[in-house]
């Protein structure tokens, strides 16, 4: 049988899913054990026990100076920034893309502008943001916003243009004005796509967040990682990276669930 016609199923499939993770884990454990056997003070590949100890310190014990539990405080601060950035970018990207893709008179000036703006490297704008908005929360949120809004807007504009012309004509024969056509025909068809787009830009959003926190912040997951880097504290950095990955994955999963529940027609129909 040809390779392309062989599909994994049942336990075999599960095995194939788990295998790469297990291999990575084994490779790490082996490397860590080997290095620690060589030099018990080695910091590069901490053992699981060392990392568990660090997690306990960061997550469950109060910091002596601030009285906070750093992991949770960092998580709350980062998620607040990320959530605000994503929300603002979603509203802005949706509005811009919707208008540029539906109303030709707005598309003519907006569409080339968005194309050019999306070419500006957001991280190169970070100093500008710090100068304009100061070192506070606003500049970090704005970095996420300017980083992903053009991506969302451009894709949604294209999606709006891809709505078959027939449907727009049909809506007009049903008495829709430009406004009600946007409200009842274009917007509802773009919303599920917005959720898909948000999942795709989630990685970039985290990137911008960590970069901004690393450079100017007093809390946040990115701040912590870059702070403890000075002491080569891999036992903190690695669990933090794992935690960030888990958070991002959970957000991706949640967005997918919301999309499936709210827009059954977009995912093949059956409710």
């Amino acid at each position: 049988m040809r390779l392309i016609n062989r599909h994994p199923d049942g336990p075999g499939r599960l095995l194939l899913v788990v295998l790469p993770f297990a291999l990575l884990l084994c490779a790490y454990l082996y490397g860590s054990a080997a290095r620690l056997a060589d030099n018990p003070n080695d910091k590069l590949l901490p053992s699981t026990a060392q990392m568990a100890e660090a997690v306990k310190r960061m997550a469950f014990e109060q910091d002596l100076r601030t009285g906070e539990r750093p992991l949770w405080q960092d998580t709350a601060a980062s998620l607040r920034r990320l959530g605000m950035g994503l929300a603002i970018a979603a509203v802005a990207g949706l509005s811009l893309g919707l208008l540029a893709g539906t109303v030709p008179l707005l598309g003519a000036p907006l569409s080339p502008l968005l194309t050019v703006l999306s070419m500006v490297p957001p991280l190169a704008m970070l100093p500008v943001l710090f100068i304009v908005f100061g070192l506070g929360e606003l500049s970090k949120v704005m970095l996420i916003v300017i980083g992903i809004t053009p991506i969302l807007a451009r894709d949604l504009e294209q999606q709006a243009r891809d709505i078959p012309r027939e449907l727009l004509v049909k809506a007009q024969t049903l008495g829709a004005s430009t406004w009600t056509l946007i409200l009842r025909v274009v917007l509802p068809q773009l919303l599920p796509r917005l959720l898909v787009d948000l999942r795709l830009v989630l990685g970039s959003a985290w990137l911008f967040l960590i970069a901004a926190e690393a450079i100017a912040s007093t809390d946040g997951l990115g701040y912590r990682i870059f702070l403890v880097r000075r002491y080569l504290a891999m036992d903190v950095i690695l669990p933090y990276v794992g935690w960030i990955t888990a958070l991002a994955w959970a957000m991706d999963w949640a967005l997918r669930q919301v999309g499936r529940r709210a827009f059954p027609w977009y995912h093949g129909g059956n409710r």
Binding site: A171, T173, L174, G175, S177, L183, R184, Q189, Y266, G269
Partner: protein, 262 residues
């Protein structure tokens, strides 16, 4: 007195002449079927009637007035594909037209008004045989059911003119027959003037009160796009139906009884 008058209509796209010198006068209640070779401009003619495009030359009168320059509820349309909204279920697809017409700000009705509109839509859907599928999304319907839905969606607006562009082109012969029966019944029940494009001559002969054949009369072998198509044949058909429909188009009152016989 004719409902639609087309005077010396030309349509060109750049150097490409698609339609030339089309003259046509169609009375209220006629069932016109348009046939012709692929690419000869039948869909273009429908788009002009719809107001989706402006003619390069000539003009179209509707009820004595120049045709509005954009689509409006006076002219309903069913395309071969993409006629129904994928994000709305069957009932909402038909209710949408009533909502858009009644609510100019939100395009949405609430409470009792919404229920009344939904009841009206459901009655029409029952009529076209979709009473059992109100909660389904279009992607869950067969091709024939989607076209029934598209027809109901157009008729709920009570348009004077219904434009159909190969509406049954993708259906199997059996389903197509059912759709013909349905369409003729609806045409009798509503005061409708129909323009329908088809590639199926039998369909044309069995439905039309008037068969319009589009074809080129002039050819330049060196410039195939230099000349456009005209209406080369204009054949009256099914005269008994035509007479009946003409009687219906008279002022109501004395003829009210006939409607029920239909």
């Amino acid at each position: 007195m004719s409902l639609i008058d087309v005077h010396n209509l030309w349509q060109r796209y750049g150097e490409h002449t698609v339609l030339e010198q089309v003259n046509l006068s169609v009375a209220e209640g006629e069932f016109c079927v348009l046939v012709g070779a692929s690419g000869c401009g039948k869909s273009t003619f429908l788009r002009l009637l719809l107001g989706q495009e402006r003619p390069s030359q000539g003009h179209i009168m509707l009820g004595g007035q120049p045709l509005p320059g954009e689509p409006d509820p006076g002219r309903g349309v069913v395309f071969q594909r993409y006629s129904v909204f994928p994000h709305l279920n069957v009932l909402d697809n038909v209710t949408l037209g009533l909502e858009l017409q009644a609510s100019h700000w939100w395009g949405r009705l609430l409470g009792a008004a919404r229920r009344r509109a939904a009841d009206q839509a459901a009655a029409l859907l029952e009529r076209v045989g979709l009473g059992q599928a109100l909660a389904k999304y279009p992607s869950q319907l067969s091709g024939g059911m989607q076209q029934r839905l598209a027809i109901a969606q157009a008729l709920v607006m009570k348009p004077r003119v219904l434009l159909l562009d190969e509406p049954f082109g993708a259906l199997d012969p059996g389903t197509r027959k059912d759709m013909h029966v349905l369409l003729l019944e609806l045409w009798r029940e509503h005061p409708l003037t129909v323009f329908m494009v088809t590639h199926d001559l039998n369909e044309g002969f069995s439905l039309a009160t008037r068969l319009l054949v589009f074809d080129k009369t002039r050819h330049d072998p060196h410039a195939p796009h230099a000349y456009g198509a005209r209406v080369t044949y204009d054949i009256p058909l099914n005269s008994e139906r035509r007479a009946f429909q003409a009687a219906l188009a008279q002022p109501p009152g004395e003829l009210a009884g006939c409607v029920h016989i239909a």
